[in-house]
Symmetry: C3
Subunit: 432 residues, 3 copies
């Protein structure tokens, strides 16, 4: 109902402003791209006499060169409110997989600089994205990354190119093409949650869709009701509180408010617990790196596209050209954590527990086992397994590790001095 | 047809016994939980004038405290036959994930003691369940475990709270919310079996649903036709024979009896073969534990909630706080085995072979490789790789392992004596 | 429309040639297999008066023994054009999982010899298939392998036995029963591609099915438009070009030809890149085998059913009775590669990137880590980690590896001589 409001206002303006220019195009395109024409003919655009040139322009030479992209600015000329809401949501910002400085990549649009930089400045506005994209071939970047990460600028990501039927964008399947797979299987977890199974057996009145909770009232701000950033870190208190209230209001269309609050709070609890498990694994790997025990160490492999020859375990971490133990952590962080937490907020027991929590804990076991193997193998300086080492060399290694921990803030200055003192005393006592 | 019989009898009794008390509740709840009210209004309950208070009671103070749970006893007041059938099935017994002695867990209901104990006795009636539950946080236990394992006491697990439409519970999707995921993907394997694909393309007349085979004639005994316990061990002969006859009778609605028997017998064969593969892996791990070669050994990790610091490889085994090789075995036992065997009985080639059999065999390879690594690493008593050991210490270790095998019944007393004799003779011969 | 043409011609011939013999069978089978009879009664066969005996014959004694199989030859008596198209496609040839010399397996049909041999010859015509099948129990071979690999000879694989409704075989779900799972999830990747989500939300006019692209015009040649063999090796240039033109023609029903060509060319690029990643892993394993470092080596395990005690990394490789590193490569080759490449050609970002490319690269990391472990462990001849070796023995080992590489064609004769010279010079210099 309200979903159509923003559009219809646009249509009326459009009918006044633009003549129907379609016939010229259609004569040829009925033969060349018949299905595209059929789709347009059955669309609300055709009924409102919005023709080919209204969106594509009429410069066929530039069209052929692929220069006349129908992006969100074109759609926004009529659908201003939708575009404004879209721009406020995660869909509308921060998903460009080309982030990270891409100015030297072939075919990059220099306008993309504004995603990271103020005009004329080389300093990034926000942490740059995305190291993983920078490692891919242009084919994989296009088909594997930007097929989804184009949602910022392309309304057709959801609305398709010429169909634009509301039946398509109100169906939860429209979300499936991106919101699925190992890293964020929201579609799969919705489909087998009680919400999804009720949709399948009893229809949208009883079984809520993605749209009903995340685009309530037809809003294009899909991030309403979200209380944390994409790494699971809660928003500042006031923003978090506001997000929670927005979501609880949506839940109470069906559920008692107290029930909704409890469910969502359980999700919060599971998120915190899952982050703790992640942290344990991360510190194990960090410690191995401090001791030069990763195989291979970052200096001995192709440099990270953004950070160079350094260990990267944050959101920029790679799944290629790393050590085995880091790749195990990649699975934990990107797959297991996401399934556990998103599964909890989407009320799917199997994703929360089996695909999520159980995998997190099994991967922690694997990481500990690999850490033990690496420690046994030793490193050129510290003691190899079962051998005696000269105490001075061992102490030197311990001091180096302590210093790194202090630099990362894992030890306070006082703790660092205490630990350092202990090592030096032990060295003195064992000296011949 | 027969599905509705048990209910209608109940409704008639109800209409005589209870006045309509709903109006008082509805005035508020139309505002507070509008969808719940809408669902009830369209339900068979509303048509039969079964109102809010009939199920929820009318003590609003206790309702607010969550004390007035609508469990199977409330439903059973009208739906006696369904409850009786339910109680006979696996749905109705033995699925409480809180089993294992939970009396000290916060918020546990002391009435749950009856699941494991005779009144007043501390001795368990049956093997206690479930160690994995006892390791979880209350949030994970609630959302990840009991979301499904509440089916024993909550009819709403399948029927939903206020909808109760038969279209919901006769749709195979109602089963999907629990019977999916890595440990028992019955829904996924049905969906892509010929049974499931025919349901999707040609409807329930041609494509049988979960309900058609496992709730034949509308019975709530979902375990009719089952021939083994949940660990794959066949029931006693007569019970097994009876189960098979029940299932074959259902199959012959579409298939020739000889075909059905052959298909199910192939499932039996695959089950036996799969258990053999599991056994090989289990013995490898048991043997490593005998030789103190697990990393870490059970004594060096948080104790098992039921068995303490001992190796647990049976149905109570954990996926956390174990060694790497045990966690590989957990995947084999809980995931691969289940997919192979349930895939076979549900006629899904890819689950039987690729998701099941191939994974079982690849995991066996991984377990053997890890066992080799652990053996090479050695233990403090036995011979480390490439070193000579004092024969007496080695013999002592061998005798210890033999004794453990005899205690577990893997060696008969005679075999034990023979093996022991051999070790002692060898020791004598190598003595200086 | 055109789909029915081949059939209707057949039906007319049939009606002239065969009397209706069904009544005699139906009297009993209405009681014995009621659903089968119901399905036939609603089928086009019943309407065209094609009765039981027309397909099954009337020799009930042989029927009971299972000797009267309704295979593609029976169907082909009426549906000649469909059979001819089927025979040209991959469905119609080369999928017998029993290939590999099966003459001594229980119950094998000696007529199957013609799949591999010219009449009277023991020399195979084509590389034999399939070693993995030969390792399975008869139950697993039947249910896990031949449930799908019977498509060559059984039209019922897709058309079902008695239903034969066009609604079934024109629904993409009919393909799901085989084209799913870890090794070729075409159904899953179609379902969550934009093609599939549009089918679900807007129907077949907008969302193309498997059939629309792979059985265009109702043809039973499902391999039209394919440009490579099943191992990803492009067909000879002219055949490749022809296949691409066939596919682009299908795409242009909806898409501009230039767009379709670019999409498919991206798939080609991703295929080539993925094969390179596979090759890197394969060479690592081959090199370990040359150095006797696999655990266990092929000679120390059950022999390969076709190649005996030799390393097999080609399409005949096994997932059982191999070393851990080979089993990792099996996953890469059979699962990751297929998902990446088929995902790309089916326009599914998550299969191409996450389920495919990311897994390929993570598995390569795991393979490198295991290779390092195996190299450190050393072998009885070459230098164990951290030990000095007699130069003569080390040189001998290096020469052996070089010879193997030359035999496999990885070194030219000139390169081999150069490398050999280098080793011999080094040996001379280090000699005491």
């Amino acid at each position: 109902m309200t979903m159509g409001r923003a559009f219809s206002v646009g249509f009326i303006l459009l009918l006044t402003a633009l003549p129907a220019l379609a016939d010229e195009c259609l004569n040829c395109h009925r033969l060349k791209t018949p299905a595209a024409v059929r789709q347009w003919e059955e669309s609300a655009h055709a009924k409102a006499r919005v023709g080919c040139a209204d969106c594509h322009g009429s410069d066929h030479a530039r069209l052929d060169k692929g220069e006349m992209v129908v992006d969100q600015k074109v759609c926004g000329r009529c659908h201003a409110k939708a575009l404004e809401e879209h721009a406020k949501s995660r869909h509308g910002m921060g998903l460009h997989s080309g982030w990270g400085c891409t100015r030297n990549l072939p075919g990059r649009d220099q306008n993309e600089c504004r995603h990271c930089h103020e005009e004329g400045s080389a300093k990034p506005l926000t942490p740059v994205q995305c190291a993983r994209f920078l490692k891919q071939s242009s084919e994989m970047g296009d088909l594997g990354c930007n097929r989804c990460h184009s949602v910022e600028s392309s309304c057709a990501s959801c609305h398709t190119n010429h169909g634009t039927s509301l039946a398509i964008v109100r169906d939860p399947n429209v979300c499936a093409a991106c919101h699925m797979g190992p890293d964020h299987p929201q579609w799969e977890m919705w489909q087998t949650s009680r919400h999804g199974t009720l949709f399948t057996s009893a229809g949208p009145a009883l079984g809520p869709t993605c749209q009903r909770c995340h685009m309530a009232g037809g809003s294009h701000n899909v991030s309403a009701g979200i209380t944390m950033n994409s790494g699971g870190i809660p928003y500042p208190a006031e923003q978090e509180r506001k997000g929670r209230e927005e979501m609880v209001k949506i839940c109470t269309d069906c559920h008692a408010s107290a029930f909704a609050r409890k469910e969502l709070a359980q999700g919060d609890g599971i998120r915190t617990q899952s982050l703790t498990i992640l942290k344990e694994a991360e510190q194990l790997i960090q410690d191995l790196a401090d001791r030069n025990m990763l195989d291979p160490m970052p200096e001995k492999r192709p440099p990270h596209p953004l950070s160079g020859p350094r260990l990267v375990l944050d959101s920029q971490m790679l799944y290629e050209d790393t050590s085995h133990i880091e790749r195990l952590f990649f699975k934990m962080k990107k797959y297991d954590y996401a399934r556990t937490v998103k599964g909890a907020y989407h009320q799917n027991a199997a994703y929360t527990h089996w695909y999520g929590n159980a995998e997190l804990k099994m991967d922690l076991i694997d990481i500990k086992a690999e850490a033990n193997r690496l420690r046994e193998r030793g490193n050129p300086v510290a003691a190899p397994a079962g051998k005696t080492v000269k105490p001075a060399a061992a102490a030197e290694e311990q001091l180096r590790v302590l210093k790194k921990k202090a630099e990362r803030g894992e030890l306070s200055q006082t703790e660092y001095e205490q630990e350092k003192g202990k090592v030096l005393r032990e060295l003195k006592e064992t000296a011949p």
